[in-house]
């Protein structure tokens, strides 16, 4: 019982802090951080636990966003069902694509994923233009029906929903770290052959992990869709492909709080820098290079050992670095 309380406290304390920030910080900022952290969590799991580096995350983000958009624009009005549609389409998309991609070597995997993002972009912009309305995108903000309890169609309600989703995602990934499956993922990263020797099917492990992570990315996509009430092909743009990878590394690859800290820093920096100079790409790129050269431990990866020494936390976060 005590262990369980501590387990949940590990997630709820930082998120409670963020929830309090809802009154101190601008609302769009908090929502952006929450959604982006879910998006990054998927990338973090792939990179830190399974050893997959993917520059194609926008493809899965767009799969979720368009699933939601199609439902809300053409069929129904309930944003919750719309999100379900988005997550399901992301699940199917990732599961099918994963069958091919998971077999590839890491360098090819990264390249092919970026290519996939470009395919999705072109399909949504040109090939399916009659359905997706091309670059104009789909607008469905006023089509969504208000939901009971928390009203998803209004930012004031949506922020709590996004918060809840983020807590759920964190709990899921934290739980996975303690399971056999989580251990298998980590094992395929460090030594694929030994996983096979131990009698686990490495393809199955990787495929499940790939599907799970990219469904999470799709979830982030459908959150974006409902929040903006608008989806355009820009979502799958290859120019934004590096963002989740950058934020993952910025926060600290493979750490539990890395994606949250990274998103906070990244979104904050984007808002601040773009207010001052206008082209923040330069600084993002530079920052990425500096972090990589400085030892790729990221913000949380550097802070965590320091904090632990300060307070001597009892339960170590299962941050397993190679």
């Amino acid at each position: 019982m005590k262990g369980r309380v501590r387990w949940w406290a590990g997630i709820l304390v930082p998120f409670a802090a963020l929830a309090l920030g809802r009154w101190a910080l601008p609302l769009p900022f908090v929502v952006e951080v929450l959604i982006f952290s879910v998006y990054t969590m998927a990338c973090n799991f792939l990179l830190g636990r399974v050893g997959f580096i993917s520059f194609g995350q926008p493809a899965y983000l767009a799969a979720g966003a368009y699933g939601t958009a199609f439902y809300l624009y053409y069929f129904g009005r309930d944003p919750l069902v719309g999100m379900l549609a988005g997550v399901l389409s992301g699940l199917v998309f990732a599961a099918v694509v994963g069958l091919v991609f998971v077999r590839l070597r890491s360098d090819y995997f990264a390249l092919v994923n970026l290519a996939l993002a470009v395919i999705v972009y072109h399909v949504m912009q040109k090939v399916l233009a009659p359905i997706t309305k091309g670059d104009n995108g789909l607008w469905f903000l006023d089509r969504m029906r208000a939901t009971p309890l928390v009203d998803l169609t209004r930012p004031e309600g949506f922020v709590w929903f996004a918060w809840l989703v983020a807590v759920g995602v964190w709990a899921l990934y934290k739980y996975l770290d303690d399971t056999v499956f989580g251990a298998c993922c980590l094992a395929t990263k460090t030594n694929e052959d030994k996983v096979k020797f131990l009698g686990y099917h490495d393809f199955k492990v990787r495929w499940t992990a790939f599907t799970l992570a990219n469904t999470t990315a799709a979830l982030a996509g459908s959150l974006y869709g409902v929040y903006f009430g608008f989806v355009s092909p820009e979502m799958a743009s290859a120019a934004r492909a590096a963002d989740p990878v950058v934020v993952t590394i910025l926060g600290g690859t493979g750490t539990l709080y890395g994606p949250l800290v990274g998103s906070l820093a990244y979104v904050g920096m984007k808002d601040l820098v773009s207010g001052v100079v206008g082209n923040w790409e330069f600084f993002v790129g530079l920052l990425l290079v500096v972090i990589m050269l400085a030892g790729e431990r990221g913000i949380w990866g550097t802070l965590e050992p320091w904090l632990r020494r300060r307070w001597t936390w009892r339960r170590a976060t299962p941050a397993l670095q190679e």
Binding site: I53, F55, V100, R103, L104, R105, S106, D107, Y108, A110, L111, V112, L114, A115, L116, V118, I119, H122, V123, K126, V127, A238, A239, A242, V245, V246, I249, N279, W280, E281, F282, F283, V284, G285, L286, L287, L288, V289, M292, L293, E296
Partner: protein, 289 residues
């Protein structure tokens, strides 16, 4: 369909394949020798185009402007190699990929800052048209194809007929062994990287007059270069040549059949080829470190 259209389509595809080849050859060579994926080559491509454009606008010269573009790209790649890659050669491949992506993004940001967001038109060096099988073809495209062929020949000669090339080929097989023979492999690495940078810059400068020079040009060409490298197989020069022209033709002829298909068809082809051979047409599964 009209035969003339097809002939010009093939020439168009060949010239596009030439640009892809110049770009992808650098990427492929760097992978073969240093086991890095150098996405920043696309920055040198953009820089080559911009410097060529700038020199062209200020002096009115065309071919020297292109040479200047290639040289500027080479100079930048030398700086990046000294400051960044020299420290990370020993790291795993994804590490170099992320770092070089950072360089690319930062460089594109810097280009936007210097030259602005507006696409710039660049003067074409040769306006003349020649008749090929009764179809008028811009001479410039044929020159681009000839240059790419020349570069392929020069690289092959360098790799197969000179002592430096022999060292490079040996280092692709086994770096440690070559180092043990007393060859300074880091000088080989620098040379190859700068060579790749010059080729990328040349590709950008040559491509400038055919398209508009704009800040996103490096990112726009990313998928095609990746595709060329993946289909050909990382590290294989011959594979790069074959797949560059393959992709060029698919894009060019595909657009004659059905325009949206042109962007898509190569990707579909790539996925099929990867299903059949996960390391590309000429890629070796043994090249693993």
């Amino acid at each position: 369909m009209d035969l003339n259209l097809w002939i010009s389509g093939v020439v168009y595809g060949l010239s596009m394949g030439s640009i892809f080849f110049l770009l992808a050859a650098g990427l492929s060579l760097c992978f073969g020798l240093m086991r890095i994926i150098s996405l920043d080559q696309l920055l040198y491509y953009s820089l080559g185009a911009y410097v060529a454009y700038q020199v062209n606008v200020s002096t009115g010269l065309t071919w020297p402007a292109m040479a200047a573009g290639a040289l500027a790209a080479g100079a930048l790649s030398w700086v990046v190699e000294r400051w960044v890659f020299d420290r990370i050669y020993a790291r795993e491949i994804t590490f170099t990929m992320i770092t070089s992506f950072g360089i690319l993004v930062a460089g594109v940001g810097a280009i936007k800052y210097v030259w602005g967001l507006v696409p710039r038109p660049m003067g074409i060096p040769v306006e003349a048209q020649v008749a090929v099988l009764g179809v008028n073809i811009p001479l410039y495209r044929l020159i681009v194809i000839a240059i790419a062929a020349g570069v392929y020949g020069a690289i092959q000669w360098l790799l197969n007929r000179t002592i430096v090339g022999t060292a490079i080929r040996a280092a692709v097989e086994d770096v440690d062994q070559v180092e043990g023979l007393g060859v300074d492999v880091y000088r080989l690495f620098t040379g190859t990287f700068v060579g790749a940078g010059v080729l990328s810059g040349l590709a950008g400068a040559l491509h400038g007059p055919l398209v508009m020079v704009d800040p996103q040009m490096g990112l726009e060409v990313v998928p095609f270069v990746f595709m060329v490298v993946i289909i050909g197989g990382l590290g294989s020069l011959k594979g790069t040549l074959v797949s560059a022209f393959l992709v060029g033709q698919v894009v060019s002829l595909g657009s004659l059949v059905y325009a949206p298909l042109a962007q898509m068809a190569p990707f579909a082809a790539m996925l099929l080829i990867l299903l059949w051979r996960p390391t590309g047409l000429y890629g070796s599964a043994l090249l693993r470190r």
